[in-house]
Symmetry: D2
Subunit: 296 residues, 4 copies
């Protein structure tokens, strides 16, 4: 059935990415670019950022293609260790064509889920969706036609530990890299956050830090704001306080009731979440402290 086979807009298998964070100092770019040149790679795109030219942090992302007959990726990785150590780099080198494995957590609202499934189907998301997990059975008919496993894991105060154990078990079994909270509406326990540091993305339905917590559209209505928004962020232990990846807003006016804010907000939420997921999948996000550098 057509629905189940996403277009494969595959990234060439010889394409790779190098991500670097380190204290800024002269010579980093020279060393890295010399290294890559000597190993015969072809740079497709390169971005860099320094938080402060006087002793700040340095971030770099290079997308490149390995050339035939030159150093293969694993040897490149080994060879880079010397340069990396010299500059005290945190770094990652990996094939760009390798698909991350996603788990999408969802509750009773389907707009973000439907949008992600559609993007995946048409080949916009370079990822495998390993599973959809929900505390409700409602979304199953949306998911199974895509051939994606759907796990209904009930979750409430009394069975939280049990649910948590089940979640971790499922994620481990399916070797999930990244968890997307597509309006999951449940607190994520510290254990899971510790297992997936900066690999759990949440969509919050307000422009944070405004309207933290429950029912942000009701809060927005009450306050009488003239714009509403949505925020995609990495989940940390502090509720709605993690590093912000992306935000966007839409105008509203005095005629909007809470239902209207929710309707308008749905379109903002799904676009914001989709952009954040896209960037994460493409390794375009680097986190430092409680902030993100987005090379999108």
């Amino acid at each position: 059935m057509a629905l189940m086979h996403p277009h494969d807009k595959s990234i060439p298998s010889d394409q790779a990415r190098l991500l670097i964070s380190c204290p800024d100092q002269p010579g980093i770019v020279a060393a890295v670019s010399r290294f890559l040149y000597q190993h015969g790679v072809n740079i497709v795109r390169s971005d860099q950022h320094t938080t402060d030219p006087e002793g700040g942090l340095f971030f770099m992302r290079i997308e490149f293609r390995l050339q035939d007959g030159q150093t293969p990726l694993d040897q490149l990785e080994e060879a880079f260790i010397e340069t990396a150590d010299r500059f005290q780099m945190s770094w990652r080198l990996g094939g760009a064509s390798q698909r991350k494995r996603l788990a999408i957590f969802v509750s009773k609202e389907d707009h973000c889920l439907t949008d992600l499934l559609w993007r995946w189907r048409i080949g916009e998301l370079h990822a495998d969706i390993a599973m959809v997990v929900s505390n409700h059975p409602d979304m199953e008919p949306l998911v199974t036609p895509f051939g994606i496993p759907y796990y209904h894991v009930p979750c409430n105060r009394d069975i939280r530990l049990e649910a948590e154990r089940r979640h971790l078990e499922l994620l481990a079994k399916e070797q999930v890299d990244t968890v997307i909270l597509a309006r999951y509406m449940q607190i994520i326990p510290p254990t899971m956050i510790a297992h997936y540091p900066h690999r759990i993305i949440n969509i919050h339905h307000s422009f944070l830090p405004a309207f933290i917590g429950a029912k942000p559209y009701d809060q927005a209505f009450e306050r009488g704001v003239k714009i509403i928004g949505a925020t995609a962020h990495y989940v940390t232990e502090a509720l709605d306080q993690g590093p912000i990846i992306e935000q966007d807003v839409e105008r509203v006016d005095h005629r909007c009731r809470v239902e209207d804010l929710k309707r308008i907000g749905r379109d903002v939420e799904r676009l914001v979440l989709a952009r954040a997921v896209q960037w994460h999948l493409n390794d375009e996000i680097l986190v430092h402290g409680n902030k993100t550098v987005v090379f999108a």
Copy 2:
């Protein structure tokens, strides 16, 4: 000198506005429109809003022109009392050509002031600027070429009461209708707020309710937001909590330092404040509770 004479894009002297707030019930529009028709006025524009069709509040704004040989404005006002009483209306009827008298309060940043003065000069603001008041002498050279009085009223913790007295005295003497806080950066005392209910407009340099209080751009930088904004609101006793009139935002990214947020923010602030002032001058804002209905 050309600078001192704003273009007079005057509103016709026979143009008037009726503003109404009352409990919603059937027959209001029929009664009001019949009343206006019988007195021979010509409706230019009409807006209405009901917060809730089941027993909410009703708001209406009608802009119209009196016809030659028909009821003049003062008689129209008297004649309307009966209708107004029948529906328990709060209402206001006034000539649209009458200019409100503004006082602009400013501190050390001039972007909002300069923008308002420019709009006034080219005829965008249908108002008289009765004075500019500041706790610093710095802005005087910007103001005096326009022939507008500039009052330097120092203000700090120790002399707050004295400053307050001086402010009220100046505003009273010059029959000021509306006070614009164009980045005044000082707390407005309750006495002044009581004198000018919903007639003091402040521009706050964040998208409220995010980043209430001091140094919102520093707060925004610290939090790592991807959009910054500005909010124009009526001043009430609760700091940065008054009815929001207008908000807008602009994108920022990881490369922006606090100075960049401030620079980008200046353009948002002046546009947001200008729109709010414009709407206020045109009687396009109705306040209910802590919210605004904007018929712009």
Copy 3:
């Protein structure tokens, strides 16, 4: 199956709408509101617009609820004729709960179709989707799970007349009110336009009037624009020249290739089309000349 039963956020059966266009003159609002009041209706929302207070056109849209024991809709309609004739009105009075019947025409891109189907499923679109028509068989698996008939009607230069006949036959048989061209990419023949005046909505993938005709994203890339957009408009005989209903844009930059413009554009297109369809279904659009008045 859950997919097939859209949430029924039904509009109350006693809710109705009156739409009016006529030459402006004093007394229209008084007459209409008096008429409605006398027949005991309860106004939920009212909008009006005058193109020019000196002898322009007047437009009005009133949404109201009939009261128990008062004049029913058909009698109200008859009774209104007198008032309508007095002011030479073009007018329409109808139950708001009555669902329009849509046909969605689509070609090989599914983003607009998928989005409309999703909105319909969650109850955002107050309409029946009578059919999806395509010149390709590709979209059938997306449509049939919703229980909506899918008609594959091949169409090319040689069989255009035959296709046209088939289209009109299908639309007539299923009593379709409104045709949505959700990226149909085929010229609509004059006969069909004549059958559905201001009832065929097209989404064009540029901010018209820029980039009329084929391959607007390629044109945009070639020109090096910094924003791209989409336009929803009623179809008239002049290609991409009909009354514009809604437009929106998104930023792009020098790094975007044509594929990126297309990807970014998809999100703009589906939102713009959805808003236009929404407004059309809610009778919020009035057309005059080649322009729209949108009471949204």
Copy 4:
């Protein structure tokens, strides 16, 4: 007088910029960064772009600081020739603190001029404004308080050649680098364009390529668009066809008359022009063919 002394937010005198365009090939970044490292410079910011990884063009902009006791700028320039030649670079190396000299051309609308003068006064524009030139005397009182020379050069069909000669003479005498057409509304002759290739910036009051030519707001009103915009571009011989630097838009609706479009448009125009001028002054724009790469 305060007005005349812009804040001097000066760029450090040891800060410099290197701009490069050349055919893409492996090793460019390695060679350039090695060169800079060997000469002891400290990179503040670096941006690069490749139009097509398979044989496209390569663009790079590096902002850096010279270190005490290291190669001075003029020697650096000489030393770079070898590297530049190896990769067939078009390149420019210059001190970032050196202010460009601007001429602002204006006609009868002052919004762009006033905005640029304000930005210059508060130190946002790192430039010297050598003169303001106009075909009308009207703007003189706005300009002279800043201590900037104002030249009234009448211009019409009959005296075009004379005006042109006078313009070139003034620009040459004052060693003007860049000409800003801040709503000048006159055709720029080919001679002047030839003298200032990609150094004349125009603001056109529409989102190009829509509404080329005269009276774009009237055209927009006629077409019934729902967004209006403005475009800053480098002037070339083809009217309104030069490389686009920046664009932005604002929403309008059926209630807007041409005057409203103009009023709303003024705010878009001045922001768009200011951004373009800013980027040009900071050497953040590289032109290729009829497009711009903007490293802002």
